[in-house]
């Protein structure tokens, strides 16, 4: 079901955890399957200097968390603000369709963390936060199974 790349990222541990005294943190729960992700970031000169993530979730959730951290580490905030869940899925070479919306939460959690950082620093969040609602994809299909 999972590609080799997904399995490779599933096993990556480098950016797993939590940054103590992080500059921003964001937590997202999937309302459909209950997966939970917490992203913490350290920001220096408007660049994401460090990012760590904790995940309660399936293989796809854990792999997408690991991929996200690789994608955005060292990335300017302005650029990171436009990273989406689909970018993460694409970087993983695709995810099984039923996982795309349930477990692919990492970018949403990052946007929460960036918004948190901006709020702490007196800026309005202008990123993707709040723009993308979780799409209850294949809800009917999955229920019909």
């Amino acid at each position: 079901m999972y590609t080799e790349k997904v399995m490779e990222y599933f096993t990556k541990q480098e950016n797993v955890g939590e940054i103590p005294d992080a500059d921003g943190e964001g937590t997202i729960t999937s309302p459909t399957c209950g997966d939970l992700m917490k992203v913490t970031i350290r920001v220096k000169d408007d660049v994401i200097e460090d990012v760590k993530v904790k995940t309660f979730g399936c293989g796809a959730a854990i792999a997408s968390a690991a991929m996200l951290t690789e994608l955005v580490k060292g990335m300017p905030l302005s650029e990171a603000m436009s990273v989406t869940n689909m970018d993460v899925a694409e970087a993983l070479g695709g995810l099984p369709s039923q996982k795309l919306h349930c477990s692919n939460l990492a970018a949403d959690a990052l946007q929460e963390a960036i918004a948190d950082y901006k709020e702490r620093n007196g800026n309005e969040a202008t990123g993707q936060r709040g723009k993308r609602k979780e799409v209850p994809c294949q809800l009917e299909e999955a229920k019909g199974k």
């Binding site: 599933f10 541990q13 399936c58 809800l139 229920k143």
Partner: protein, 388 residues
Amino acid sequence: MRRVYMDNSATTPVRQEVIEAMSECMKDDFGNPSSLHWFGRQARRRMETAREQVAGLIGAEPEEIVFTSGGTEADNMVMKGVTQQLRHKGRHVITSSVEHHAILHTGEYLEKNGFDVTYLAVDEHGRVDPDHLRHAIGPQTTLVSIMLANNEVGTIQPIEELAAICRENGVLFHTDAVQGVGQLDVDVETLGVDFLSLSGHKLYGPKGVGALYVRRNRRFQPLFHGGGHERRRRAGTENIPGIVGLGLACQLSHEELPERREKLVAMRDGLIAGLIERVEDVQLNGHPSERLPNNCNLSFNYVEGEAMLLNLDLQGIAVASGSACTSGSIEPSHVLLAMGVSRELAQGSLRLSLGSFNCTEDVDYVLETLPPIVDKLRQMSPLYHGKE
């Protein structure tokens, strides 16, 4: 890498004797059992021997056995065929909320087609209360179907009692015994059932073949129409190699049952006790004693089942989980939810199902491998606030 297969409730490996008997059958006895000539008669002889072997395992008469393509077909045959046969008498069916989908989804199909279906609740161990059944039976009820043992948590139902209630009320009783046959003493007379489903690939036989026990004089509308095979109850040229394999698997199960059960129980209890001892915040799902000899179902708090499953697979261990991700839907196991297990704990459930090919070293390997995986995933989990 060491490979340990502990998903025997999904399917079992096939016994070497069975493989050989099936190969020989395909080579030598290819005839159509409906043919009158020698080739046909040879195939028929093989089939009738198998019928005796299947009947022998469950205390039935050979003519009470109908060969099917597996457990799902047998379940469908009863649910659709019996309700259809007795629709003039009533349109109410009773089953439980923890059945296999072969029963549950057939129940939903019946509901769409003008039948009422009651899904009995279960207690925290997954057992149906006979009093609930007694109260659910009405004048419209024609069929009750309750599984012998649950495929996920291994809970064994009080079938004798449930079947007796049905008999008193003139209602037919079916049990899906796919998980129980080959592990438990199953005798259709002791159980008092009218119909019983079993499957080849859960007892070291081949896939694609199973059987339905039909008590003498119990009638149902067939699923398939065509030739007069299986006493007009299941049209289609019989799967002779599969049937031969099923028959031999049943005979071997019959001969080896006490020894097999003892071995499975020892490994199961070692596995459950060992994991509870080595991992904190674990709960056993299912009944503490009324449980399949091969079933170990545990929920590990703060972690998700598929992540455990994949990590175990990377270390050569094959298991199953009741998490939403592995059930192929967005809902975690309907069985665990029906038992009142929280969604979070259902997400963190793991089913390790033993088989007669497993050995104590396999259990030890799991006891050595699983606790560090749970620990690693807990350290990764935002829900876990234990020792960091």
